[in-house]
Symmetry: C3
Subunit: 240 residues, 3 copies
């Protein structure tokens, strides 16, 4: 399977143009949109979502990852093999947390493209590569001595909201396993307790919990946490 | 074919995560998103849309139906076979109108899951089941003595808006065949006549008509009924 | 491959209902949503997008094109074969620019349907036809003497915004190859220079460039052109 992890949206042309390349060059391989509404330009938010939302998929899965404000400039492109899964996309930090957490990592830097559209490397460079990885299960003849952009200044657990879902739940860059027990989460002056899931809380009450992909998520039972707590992507919080 | 009938949205991770399970466990079966923007928490609205929008599909079709505010709590999950089509999802009323109208119905209650994520039974329980139904065309060895939640207090025809489409048309829980002839529809003080379709009315005029799935729909030719008549999901109306 | 080029949106029922018809009647043919958020009723905007966004795809591709405010009325439906690609949909001008630019064109007028829903010819008329074209690669026994609606009063290059993408970039109905060199673009009193791509401009600065499908596009590096320049679909501009 090929997974799309982008800020393209689904309704305009970009996801469709990329899917067409994938279907032409890797016929019969299912293409699944995992995220199409990553926050434009926010590479860090995407970097913390990527390992949490790709970990569960089988070895050989290919992730086409694009949050690419630097497209057409000097920024490098990269291919990462992490614990048997493939990742392709612009390399300005998008793979930094993924590679930090993986047990086995190989990386390849891509040459600067000469014929691609300067504004759509996803269609002209990364999608053909993703198709080839899905088809062949290999990249080139051996690992090139290279690492993905590492960004050591980014913390292991990011105390920042990285995504707001359709229900208004706020997904964060912090893994629930890294939080000791029943810690309190403070966001915008609201003190939130931990719960197991929505129905354990009274209707309208805010809380945090370990979401179905292992991240700390801020939610309101039968309500919208984003509006009730005035949260957007980028809002910071504390745990204690 | 497997149809998704949910409130997940398409752009975030949930539809993609469910599609991945379906492609892995029912390879080669087309997966189609029928509704991804059902109103969160509004089980009743979804219940009146489900028979209207699933009736036309062939026997053997599988519908993964999820509006699930009670996920992780004590609410039951269910499988319904109605007139040859399969339906899987949380059973708090979502299947009540479907089963009331179908000619031949079998129901199974699902055991409370022990290993699933308490916030994502769609991925961990219902999608694997939908894949199995699409693959095998059968559930277990025989019908268990069980019925879906029946909600007899819900009317046969619901005089309430249950969905607003991209054009601002308001779809209702009332079947057009249940309305005598040229009845007048009153919503928010506006009296609307019946028409055959958009182009039979002057530009900018509101009306109601039998939509392409057999439901009463409130519309404006070349305009948005939701804004012009101040309608949202949940707005009530009268027919006389 | 079958491409959807519509104003249906993806999250409600219409795209799914059309996809179901296509999967049933052309099994195994990939169906790709190219545009699902064309501006309702704006046939002209769609007409200038269609050749730019369909040109790159291989002969035999089928485009199901629906912006159809006249559905159910007397407006004709049509099939167009242009440079080896197939196009099906309502014919009120949607194919006018496509056929003007193509080297080899054949057109067929469709008979007025008698059994289709008066509000959903896409599902009942155009999708079955698109499936048949994808399957058979031919339409009928020979070209009928007919042309698509030509609209000669529409200019070759339209100085009007025809689409706003998810990033707030404004795509226009003007081909970049038709613009001499470094022309200045004036929109809402803002004078914009031409650039190669986003990263060639300072952050926050508006410019225009030749987008990845060959159209003049108005953008802001790391910003939203629609908000910064107060642009919507329909905004006019000048080039000099």
């Amino acid at each position: 399977m090929i997974f799309l992890f982008t800020d393209f949206g689904l309704e305009g042309p970009y996801t469709g143009q990329v899917q067409a390349v994938l279907h032409q060059q890797a016929p019969g391989v299912p293409v699944i949109s995992l995220f199409a509404d990553l926050t434009p330009f926010d590479i860090q938010a995407a970097a913390y979502l990527l390992p949490a939302y790709s970990n569960g998929f089988p070895p050989g899965s290919v992730f086409l990852c694009v949050v690419d404000p630097g497209v057409g400039g000097a920024r490098p492109g990269g291919v990462v093999k992490a614990d048997g899964r493939w990742y392709v996309g612009p390399d300005e930090g998008l793979f930094a947390i993924l590679t930090r957490r993986a047990h086995h990592v190989e990386c390849w830097a891509l040459p600067h493209p000469t014929t691609a559209s300067p504004s759509f490397h996803a269609r002209d460079v990364f999608a053909p590569l993703a198709a080839r990885l899905a088809r062949d299960g290999a990249f080139g003849t051996g690992p090139v001595a290279s690492t993905a952009s590492a960004l050591p200044e980014w913390p292991d657990e990011l105390h920042r909201v990285v995504y707001i879902d359709r229900y208004g739940n706020a997904i964060t860059g912090t893994r629930a396993v890294a939080v000791t027990g029943a810690s309190t989460l403070n966001i915008n002056g609201h003190e939130l307790s931990r719960a197991r899931t929505f129905t354990d809380m009274p209707s309208g009450m805010a809380f945090w919990y370990a979401n179905s992909s292992g991240l700390v998520e801020i939610a309101v039972n039968r309500g919208r946490a984003d509006r009730q707590l005035d949260i957007t992507v980028g809002t910071l919080f504390e745990l204690y």
